[in-house]
């Protein structure tokens, strides 16, 4: 870096302030006071909401990448409910909500209109939670992928239907307690199964770009949005967004929990182009899944009244399989 970085302001002990000491090219979009501020503060999300955090970073980054010319389409869900109670709105960009299961098709419709009008400068971002994406909206999403519509679709995965009171979705992990997979009976919590791995399903459509991310890696998240916005066609971003309410975690722990999901290997962070994995975020310090499970009330039944080492071992095998499949271990640890 040759040019001296321009310091705007300084806060002691803040990672964000440190970020501002970096050169302009390395700074986070959020470090810029002139950021788009797509989702303003004052909305009604819970404290520590991972989805609100993710949405703010993603849309600001998308706006920056597109020179401010972004239209957002939203599925029904927490993000829509907490941001637009009539007559208020937290959105500083054109925003459209229609239904729970149709956000990909509505976004594709916006993209089609822009194409007809020759507006190549305006870009479309579709967004929804895991329920709206992996369950009820999957048909529309698959159609959007298949046609390669020029839309970046973002799934905010908090692993259950949080807006309606924490019921199981197709993205709920095994053994997790939800209001419809209670921690009672022979096999408490959500059953083990094949799971519905939407990033892999998206890759099977051979769309230009598929990536996963978490709100623990916010710079990584921004970078992936910029990368996706640099492309045309159907792009898919699957972001893990912990939900303090549904997961039973402390409000201040959202980022830490997301990082644990990465570091245990339970949530592999990778990128894929045209159906092939092109890059992974290696795990710097590998941790046992127990470290991720223990702080979450939705897994409390694995620790009391008795420690379910058998179930935890099964989850560990899932994490191990992810690590092997995506090659997630950093070089030094893999060789040691």
């Amino acid at each position: 870096m040759s040019a001296a970085p321009q310091v705007r302001f300084y806060q002691v002990g803040s990672f964000a302030a440190g970020n501002r000491l970096l050169g302009p090219g390395l700074q986070s979009d959020q470090a810029d006071p002139a950021r788009a501020n797509a989702l303003t503060c004052g909305h009604r999300a819970c404290q520590g909401c991972g989805e609100a955090l993710g949405a703010r970073y993603i849309l600001d980054a998308a706006q920056r990448a597109a020179g401010g010319k972004v239209i957002a389409v939203n599925a029904t869900g927490c993000l829509e409910v907490f941001s637009t109670p009539y007559p208020e709105t937290s959105w500083q960009l054109p925003w459209l909500h229609s239904l729970f299961g149709n956000a990909p098709a509505v976004a594709a419709g916006v993209a089609a209109a822009l194409r007809a009008k020759g507006r190549t400068d305006i870009r479309v971002v579709g967004q929804g939670g895991d329920g709206g994406t992996v369950d009820i909206g999957l048909g529309c999403l698959s159609g959007m992928f298949e046609r390669n519509d020029d839309v970046l679709y973002v799934c905010y995965d908090n692993e259950a239907y949080m807006n309606t009171g924490v019921q199981r979705s197709g993205a709920t992990p095994p053994t997790a307690r939800t209001a419809t997979t209670q921690a009672v009976g022979e096999e408490p919590g959500a059953p083990f199964g094949q799971g519905k791995n939407l990033p892999l399903i998206a890759m099977a459509h051979e769309i230009p770009y598929v990536a996963t991310a978490t709100v623990a890696g916010l710079r990584d998240l921004e970078a992936k949005v910029h990368r996706a916005m640099g492309m045309r066609g159907a792009r898919y971003l699957h972001v893990l967004v912990p939900c303090p309410l549904g997961w039973g975690t402390a409000s201040h722990d959202t980022v830490r929990i997301a990082r644990l999901a990465e570091q245990t290997g339970l949530f592999p962070v990778f990128e894929a182009k045209d159906g092939e994995v092109t890059d992974v975020t290696p795990i710097r310090r590998r941790l046992p899944v127990e470290e991720y499970l223990r702080p979450q009330k939705r897994y409390a039944h694995l620790f009391q009244p008795e420690l379910r080492t058998d179930v935890i071992a099964r989850l560990q095998r899932t994490a191990d399989r992810n690590i092997a499949r995506f090659g997630l271990l950093a070089q030094e640890e893999a060789s040691s």
């Binding site: 959105w91 229609s98 239904l99 149709n102 009008k117 159609g143 046609r147």
Partner: protein
Amino acid sequence: MLKQTEGSRAVAETVAHCRPEVIAAYPISPQTHIVEELSRLVKSGALKPCEYVNVESEFAAMSMCIGASAAGARTYTATASQGLLYMVEALYNASGLGLPIVMTVANRAIGAPINIWNDHSDSMSQRDSGWIQLYARDNQEASDLHPQAFRLAEELSLPVMVCMDGFVLTHAWERIDVPEQAQLDAFLPPYEPRQVLDPDEPVSIGAMVGPEAFTEVRYLAHAKQMQALEAIPRVAAEFRRVFGRESGGLIHPYRCEDAETIVVALGSVFGTVCDVVDEMRERGVRIGALAITSFRPFPLQAVRAVLGGVRQVVVLERALAVGIGGIVSANVRTALSGIQLDGHTVIAGLGGRAITKVSLHRLFDDAIAGRLEQLTFLDLNTALVERELARMARTRRSGPSAENILRDAGSNR
């Protein structure tokens, strides 16, 4: 230009001359010929700029229309039957968001049992969806209603359904005057949206509304539909000025002036009804017919003005409201509230059964002679249904109820 052509093709060409910018389409009989022809017109370059999108379902088709319309594009789709029902959630959304989407419904029965032939079960099921519903009497009107539908939709910011009888109209070849591009451009100006998704002037569309304002929002939806009662005849009159043809409007009375009996009908059966009226008039019977073109909004005043003084009204229903009977009849009755007259509901032509002149003559003669029940199923095979009802009465239902035990005891004797 006057030419011999298929109803679907005439509609497709007229829609193309309306210059839609986005068409989302999913195939379903008997709507297919419309979207096939439009796909050809777009791909050949005859219709441009226009994005023709093949979608994975009718739910996606209507959802895509919602997005395209909100982004400021003139938007069109077509469907029928199960497809319309598969769209339902998005239909209510399109009207609630005030999006001027135009859709052709090639009317067809709803299963089960599956039946691809014509009746009005599909569009009638959406009478409360907030869409304007216009019913075409023939293929000329089916074609002509589309430019009028775009005018109405865009003036009122409401979606409009043009209903044309499946197969009976869609697949029929007739001499049709398909509007020329220049003529249509004189009638239908470019689309100027009420609100549009624009990064330079951001708006939030589709916000959540709670109990404090929801009733008001719904009231406004009703008030806006009522404005269509003024707009529909005005647009039809303008259409007549430009094209020199009578198409659209709220209602079409036929020989009603001195009629004692009036038959109410929607869609293509009206032509047959008028023929029968003519033949009965030759016999000196004072009978007339009334077509309702605008079923939503329902023209209460106009219908009352025509039917208010007659002795007898027979409503030909092309759909069945199971558990009560007629759908159109209930609306006609509302129009005639406080007026005493002899009213009959006739369920006719379900699932494509032909409505013949012979049957209509018998039906109207019965009505005039006072032999008609209040609810009648035209040409019902009574032997078949009585046999089946008797079998159902004999068949044991599940459970050890006293009724079943007694029936079993009876059968042992």
